[in-house]
């Protein structure tokens, strides 16, 4: 597995699993029915943001991440990042590899901290992964997410200094 900057040519390989994950409505606050153009607009970043892909030896896209400033002005040293792994490539360490890469890049880009705004509390694998990468749950928005199966559940805000 290799992680590199995404180009516009990668989007057609990202969109199928992006759409599947968003349509499930279990882990993202994106509109579940967003169309491809809206998805591209949310995911493919312009500088100073970055979009990355994890690819295997054949060049198949296994997952993707995006990162950029989470606040402006005097809070612009806080980065944000989001991650999508193709469900067909789950449990292979793709999310962890993307997370570690994004943390390195964020330090390199001069950020001092990273914040995740909305980690669904029932997404326990993601919560555990981010904790293992040094993030703390600094707060929870009670009833912040309407889960299609579990009803109103919390949204964790996760954070770490870099």
């Amino acid at each position: 597995m290799r992680i590199r900057e995404a180009t516009a040519d990668d989007w057609p390989a990202i969109w199928p699993f992006f759409r599947t994950i968003v349509a499930a409505g279990e882990t993202y606050t994106y509109p579940q029915d967003l169309d491809e153009a809206a998805g591209r607009g949310l995911w493919m970043q312009e500088p100073p943001g970055r979009t990355l892909v994890a690819v295997d030896e054949d060049g198949t896209v296994l997952g993707s991440a995006k990162m950029g400033p989470n606040h402006m002005g005097r809070g612009a040293h806080i980065a944000n990042a989001s991650f999508m792994v193709d469900p067909d490539s789950g449990r292979k360490g793709v999310g962890r590899a993307l997370g570690e890469h994004v943390l390195r890049l964020a330090r390199q880009d001069g950020y001092r901290a990273m914040q995740f705004n909305a980690v669904v509390e029932t997404n326990t694998r993601a919560v555990a992964l981010w904790k293992s990468l040094g993030f703390d749950i600094v707060g929870t928005l009670h009833e912040g997410f309407e889960h299609p199966e579990h009803g109103f559940v919390g949204l964790h805000i996760m954070y770490r200094l870099l």
Copy 2:
């Protein structure tokens, strides 16, 4: 004092204190040097967002607030709001009146919660005001704000159910 929906005609009365507050760099994460068009774009909301003004008997604008969804999709029931009070009209209860009005409107618009993303911890009057209106500090982003006088200070995330 009366609170009403802002129109485009109110912007010229908002911009002077908006600019002063943003340029001070003590309470907002907006770029300190933003120009009038960028300020208008950040402040004057399109539906489902709202922008409000507090005006006195003469129609003078004393302060303003904006509100709208803070998340999308299955988190879209969380509202966000921001407040600016003309420093020349401070300590007259304008912020509190705007806050109470925004909470009423948010309930009326069907939101279930309200979240403030970045309350600078040294802005103790704002923190006390929001606490008195039922908000809790659910988390703090340590060193999340580079204060021009105090250096890196925390950014509180404040939240309440409606």
